[in-house]
Symmetry: C2
Subunit: 344 residues, 2 copies
């Protein structure tokens, strides 16, 4: 199958590209290095710096004999994306081409406007490229569990049937996010869902929690194939940040009361089992979010499709710690602390 990956330089995009190429698919990736530029501008260097996308594809081809085609450019540019579609004729697209940082989106006017405009324009252009050039193409859009916020009822997969005054209606599950970035993901969802209803667009919206980890089977083949590993307050997800803090002997920075629950549980308990001297520091929460809340998302859809989950075992965390330890000379404690407050 011909699979196009938008945002192929990213923490998720690159490992996805390698895995699909190894599985025998034809893979093209597009990226404009927006995340790298924002990381430079916000002094948020990755712990493990990945070579650029062209170089990574070259290393990958050398090591595996598999080609990944690379286009460096902006998916918000209609001409560029149209040309990629006309040239590659994708049968499926995985859409990661978004500004992905909640804290960055909350850091001021320019960052907020960039996040809104970039994320909507890339999604909008993708819709039109599919409608105009590849109407049967299947879009896999990476959503975020953060779109849902923390409702006091179960989060259902996709839709919810609401009974009200003796009548019923099925709604796309209502969303209410805790950052502007996550709000733009709601816009994307609504935009795609609109074109699904009016134009029969084929979309799978994958709602995922914060991702952690540093390696995949393909990334093990060469140090140059590892994904970017961010541990800073802008791009670092919480597990990755805690692992780096543990390795550096820094206290774990828990935001507020620490009752926030996401796709992984018992994180702090698990980390304490790792052979490191870990302290915990409660910071005033820089975000505006519920610190104690109900959280019960349904998650049977992917399991029914055959997903074999990789659990956050001690072994997984020990492997992460080992790799971070190799790079500990690069850890800069000052970029782990939250530099952006939601409320100015």
């Amino acid at each position: 199958m011909r699979i196009l990956i938008l945002g192929g330089d990213g923490y998720l995009g690159w490992p996805t590209a390698m895995q699909l190429a190894m599985a025998g698919h034809e893979v093209t990736v597009v990226d404009n290095y927006l995340r790298r530029r924002i990381a430079d501008e916000t002094d948020s260097a990755a712990l493990i710096v990945a070579p650029d996308l062209v170089e990574r594809a070259r290393i990958f081809a050398t090591v595996t004999g598999k080609e990944i085609e690379v286009t460096i450019g902006d998916c918000a540019d209609r001409t560029l994306l149209s040309n990629v579609f006309l040239h590659f004729r994708p049968e499926a697209v995985v859409h990661y081409a978004e500004q992905p940082s909640g804290p960055y989106s909350m850091s001021g006017y320019d960052a907020a406007r960039l996040t809104i405009e970039n994320n909507l324009a890339t999604t909008f252009n993708l819709v039109w490229a599919v409608l105009e050039h590849a109407p049967d193409c299947h879009i896999v859009k990476l959503g975020s569990m953060g779109e849902y916020g923390t409702p006091n009822i179960d989060i259902e997969e996709g839709w919810i049937d609401v009974e009200h005054k003796g009548r019923t209606q099925r709604f796309l599950y209502p969303r209410q996010a805790a950052s502007l970035y996550h709000t733009t993901k709601i816009f994307d969802t609504d935009l795609l869902w609109f074109y699904v209803r009016t134009h029969g667009l084929r979309v799978t919206d994958l709602m995922q929690g914060p991702v952690y980890g540093v390696t995949t089977p393909e990334a093990e083949l060469d140090p140059g194939l590892r994904p970017n590993f961010h541990y800073d307050d802008i791009f670092g997800t919480v597990v990755n940040r805690f692992v780096v803090q543990a390795v550096a002997g820094l206290p774990l920075t828990v935001y507020g009361a620490g009752g926030q629950t996401r796709g992984y549980l018992n994180l702090i308990d698990t980390l304490q089992c790792v052979d490191l001297d870990v302290r915990i520091e409660a910071l005033a929460n820089p975000r505006k979010e519920a610190e104690e809340h109900y959280y019960n998302p349904a998650h049977t859809g992917l399991l029914d499709l055959g997903l074999q989950p990789h659990l956050m075992t001690e072994e997984v965390l020990v492997d992460m710690v080992r790799l971070v330890q190799e790079h500990r000379h690069r850890i800069r404690p000052e970029i782990v602390m939250p530099r952006v407050r939601w409320n100015g």
Copy 2:
């Protein structure tokens, strides 16, 4: 009170400005004539052409002795809107500065992208102008009942309490619109609702149905003060279009089965009471919408605040017909028929 009206040249903006000025408020209006430009580009001239905004304010001052301050410019331009806020220091803002046509938003890539970018950028800039320059300013945002679509349960005002598996959660009422324009109104709602939650922004979201009519007490003072009256397929709302068709002896163009229900009822029955020879023509529906559906929106909030509704009486329709008859030489049948189909 100092009241700023964004989109003050519009069908709703201008009558709002006059009414608030007559009520003794200080009023400033901003408009970039976007609707006039799109009307030109789509060959959708108004039946009754209003003088430009500067000229209308001049006529209004001459007739009433009341000043309406005018700024011609784009609310998507941060500097312009900031300067208006710094100069005028509004205590309330009425936000109409959006591309308001569903059919235009469905007419192609450029129109769709303009609608998304314009409507989100004006709303976003308004949020930031308030946060930075007038944090206590109250925003009145014009929403649309079209945001809700046609759910099979009652449409509640604002929020809905959902009971699910023995637990309850209050959600902003879920939205699912039938045009891209209405989808951008959902984005606006979500954007404002986000900043209400995180920054304490003060917003009233007025959900209104399609508007009809051609005059207000202030507009009666001088022919140059009348609002734009569009009857075309792009900017003409359905009642206005039907009145023009009745006057011109054209069949009423009902889209599809004609069971679509909105904020007014028994429209066709009422029109048939007016002394005109009215025929009805069922067109293949150019839109993708439910033609038979449940529709029961709650509407007690404004009545509780003292709203005196003006009902769509025969007298009201007769007055509209009379005014349209005065301008019947300008009616162009070819721009009444739908020129945009939702599905290409």
